[in-house]
Subunit: 149 residues, 2 copies
DNA sequence: CAGTATCCTACGTGATACTG
DNA sequence: CAGTATCACGTAGGATACTG
């Protein structure tokens, strides 16, 4: 019995997890957002070579990262536009962890707007006119793609 | 060789993944946000009983969900406040999946503000004065908790 | 209905050696 | 430096039977 795939589920969360939900993958993406580009540098996070190879291959296949040759022997891995759009996912996870598993010495990573140097707003759902919404202020409606038949 | 734990890493993402990064866990949370409360209903997502049991136990241990007895034999699982605060994570993943793995028939799930019935704004980072920020407009700074020593 | 308990096995992981 | 290849191992996952 193989592991069940999430890919067939008609659900954005399930299908997304099928791509980025594997062990180590989100840590690789975290590193990429921090500027890591090279194979040996990604390795520092702690996974073994074969795992990194396989994860990077998947990310490239999914067009989340792009592999660019540098000089014939080396390559760099860069986030594509599709990959960059995962930033809210990483930011949301980071904020939750900051809140619930804080380092006693204080916050570990601060996200600031480059232009102003000011910290960004906490990740949250917002109304279309910019009010932060609490979880219980949001309802879920089925859209046209909600059925498979 | 056991699987390496992420828990010791001084990183909010790694520590959060240690809790909610296991297979099936985010799908259980997705169901919970949609109103699922009962063991047998969570099962419908497709995992087997022993896995669901173990995942729910972890979520309760981490105070992400709360197990409440109903009538001596049945129980319900409800998201705690800590669990509800994972909503931005789920929303971000959903939005990304909606964009990059769309169902050809249209969007599957629409999140609306209860009060107005209007769709919420797309998940994004925002500046502290409410402007949506693109990934490359954000910089990362080390905070006081960034070092372990 | 809500679990608990077993059993089996494929797969993911980790380590390491090796290559260009 | 950037992988590829191989191997051994544990365990996560799945199926299912059983209990209160």
């Amino acid at each position: 019995m193989k592991y069940k795939s999430f890919a067939h589920m008609n659900c954005s969360i399930a299908q997304t997890l099928e791509i980025i939900g594997e062990r180590w993958t989100l840590l690789i993406l975290r590193d990429a957002f921090r500027g890591v580009r090279r194979f040996e540098d990604f390795l520092q996070t702690g996974m073994s070579r074969n795992v990194l190879t396989e994860r990077l291959k998947n990310l490239v296949d999914q067009e989340i990262m792009d592999k660019q040759p540098i000089d014939g022997k080396s390559s760099e891995y860069l986030l594509t536009k599709k990959g960059l759009q995962l930033q809210p996912v990483l930011l949301s996870i980071t904020h939750w962890g900051d809140k619930h598993m804080a380092n006693p010495k204080g916050i570990r990573t601060i996200f600031v707007e480059k232009k102003t140097g000011k910290p960004i707003a906490p990740m949250s759902a917002y109304s279309n006119d910019g009010r932060a919404l609490k979880p219980n202020e949001i309802a879920i409606k089925a859209g046209p793609g909600s059925t498979t038949s």
